[in-house]
């Protein structure tokens, strides 16, 4: 009887273990179905080998908290590239087992939706944040983009909570104008954004394919792409311009740079001269600080004072300096517009950009310019006085100089017709 009781007890323990194992098996089966639904079969991409190895982090349900996905991006309206691209997302939910599977699937689907909506644009990051808020779990996502053409590959890695964008989203690229026209890239100056070109765009759009963008840290660019170290030098912005050209497969580019973007264009053309057909430098200055015989227009003390003022009270500095930079005091709306543009810029990013702008010395880069260049100066500009225009013209081999009958540092706003005419005249030559 005792032995029967012992056996019955053992059978009871065994029954409990079997019941638990059956329950776990069922749960694992459901989890695997969820997992299978999330992990897709990778698409076939000509010229690109894609492979995935998935190992679940958890040993309980044998279901992980990570996912991968690969899908073709829909062709974007206004895209300058000839083909659609591919997006690969790799993500992590900081939860485990089946609890992670649901937000994992939701996040993956949301990222696909975001991609469809704006070509893997800025809303991905916001969506990841929303997932975190709504689900109470951390969502880390890396998004990689690749054109079908290998030479146009671009890849940016993302860390936890940060999501990397394609260049179009990073720089808020706008493409407009004549579809079969020569490509003109319009690059804005410090404290501005692509909106600064709005008065010249209508005239240019009739003849050219226009590519407008915002430098990172300006306008509607993606703030999450900001890297203080990268953008502490003008070369960081030049690299962005080159990435933009590669991403959009732009060739024979006519680059129009305003103010500091003139130098950025010079640097970009120095790296890849074959990509650029012409440079149009509007109110350029390779160095703002006087240096021996060189007249930049500012003493070292002036620039230090300017930067100190900017760093201590950016908004106050903007309100004071923007009208000075703009000139045309009889048209206060222009100064007000520039003030507002300055004020929309993130102060921390503006400080870094300002140092890169006002402390750089790119005089040595001018002599290396090998593409036809037009220098556009204003007859009265306190930021880039005529001596500077003359210096740039004299230093860039074979360059041409046009002096607009305009005042201030922003002729595209103060004298848009004359500015557009100068651009059209030079860009249209030989075409």
């Amino acid at each position: 009887v005792t032995e029967a009781a012992v056996l019955t007890s053992i059978a009871g323990y065994t029954a409990q273990a079997v019941e638990r194992a059956l329950f776990l098996d069922e749960r694992i089966s459901v989890a695997h179905q969820l997992q299978d639904a999330v992990l897709i079969t990778l698409p076939a991409v000509p010229g690109l080998d894609l492979a995935a190895l998935y190992r679940p982090a958890s040993t309980t349900d044998m279901v992980g908290d990570d996912w991968y996905d690969a899908f073709f991006l829909p062709r974007q309206e206004g895209s300058a590239g000839p083909e659609d691209g591919l997006a690969v997302t790799v993500g992590d939910i900081t939860s485990r087992d089946v609890q992670a599977a649901t937000p994992m699937g939701q996040t993956r689907s949301m990222l696909r939706q975001a991609s469809v909506r704006d070509g893997c644009g800025r809303s991905i990051r916001h969506r990841a944040r929303r997932m975190r808020e709504e689900c109470g779990c951390e969502v880390g996502v890396g998004v990689f983009f690749r054109s079908r053409q290998p030479q146009r590959s671009s890849e940016v890695a993302g860390g936890r909570e940060s999501v990397c964008m394609d260049v179009r989203s990073r720089n808020n690229v706008t493409i407009t104008g004549r579809e079969d026209g020569p490509v003109v890239v319009l690059a804005h100056g410090f404290g501005c954004d692509q909106n600064m070109w709005r008065l010249v765009v209508p005239a240019l759009a009739e003849r050219f394919r226009l590519v407008l963008f915002d430098h990172v840290g300006s306008g509607q660019s993606d703030a999450s792409a900001w890297q203080a170290q990268r953008y502490a030098s003008l070369d960081g912005y030049a690299q962005d311009v080159l990435e933009l050209c590669r991403e959009l497969d732009l060739r024979e580019v006519m680059f129009v740079g305003h103010s500091v973007s003139s130098v950025i264009g010079v640097l970009a053309a120095g790296h890849e001269p074959e990509r650029f057909a012409k440079l149009i430098l509007i109110t350029p200055s390779p160095r703002y600080v006087d240096d021996g015989d060189y007249r930049g227009g500012f003493s070292a003390e002036d620039i230090e004072e300017l930067l100190d003022s900017l760093e201590s009270n950016y908004l106050g500095w903007s309100a004071e300096m923007a009208p000075v930079i703009m000139g045309n005091p009889e048209r206060p709306e222009l100064g007000e517009e520039l003030t507002n543009s300055f004020c929309r810029t993130d102060p921390d990013m503006a400080r870094v950009f300002a140092r890169a702008t006002f402390l750089s010395d790119n005089r040595a880069d001018l002599a290396g310019v090998s593409v036809p260049t037009l220098v556009v100066e204003c007859s009265s500009d306190v930021i880039a006085p005529r001596e500077v225009g003359a210096y740039v013209h004299a230093t860039i081999p074979g360059s041409r100089l046009v002096t607009l009958d305009a005042t201030g540092h922003c002729p595209q706003l103060s004298a848009p017709e004359a500015t557009a005419e100068a651009i059209i005249s030079f860009a249209g030559e030989g075409r």
């Binding site: 009887v1 005792t2 032995e3 012992v6 273990a17 194992a21």
Partner: protein, 150 residues
């Protein structure tokens, strides 16, 4: 008295070990191995079998890949209404004992004897595995020496 106390202690230790070893099992394969290991000690069975219920239709054997007995391979499945002690255990949800081969022949017939002969135990006990929502299967313990008490 000392012998009874010794047996009681052995039984208590066996139950404690069974409770411990079967608590942290995660899958059926693990359960299968643990059950064999637990009862292989003090009870000295010649065969440990584990059969799981297939809903209402019958039983299937959870195979012990390390078992030398052919029954593990030859008799993987059986109907719930089959004339076997294991099926009866499941139907009646109580322990069924087989004291010897003759009893098996008289009660269950030659087909059951053929299955019984595969592991060749002298006696056997079939125990129902009762879960919260009904019977889950049957645990079979076979012995070479007929020491099974009922």
């Amino acid at each position: 008295l000392a012998a009874r106390a010794g047996r009681a202690l052995a039984s208590a230790e066996l139950l404690l070990r069974a409770a411990e070893d079967l608590t942290d099992t995660a899958g059926l394969d693990q359960v299968r191995l643990r059950v064999r290991d637990v009862v292989s000690g003090d009870l000295k069975p010649s065969y440990v079998g584990l059969l799981l219920a297939d809903g209402e239709s019958g039983l299937h054997r959870l195979l012990d890949r390390h078992s030398p007995h052919r029954v593990e391979v030859l008799h993987e499945n059986m109907r719930a209404g089959a004339g076997f002690p294991t099926a009866r255990t499941l139907r009646e949800r109580r322990m069924v004992t087989i004291p010897d081969r003759r009893h098996l022949m008289e009660e269950y017939g030659p087909e059951a004897v053929a299955v019984f002969d595969s592991p060749e135990p002298g006696s056997a006990a079939c125990l129902p595995l009762l879960g919260a929502r009904g019977p889950l299967g049957v645990l079979v313990l076979g012995r070479d020496i007929r020491t099974m008490s009922t």
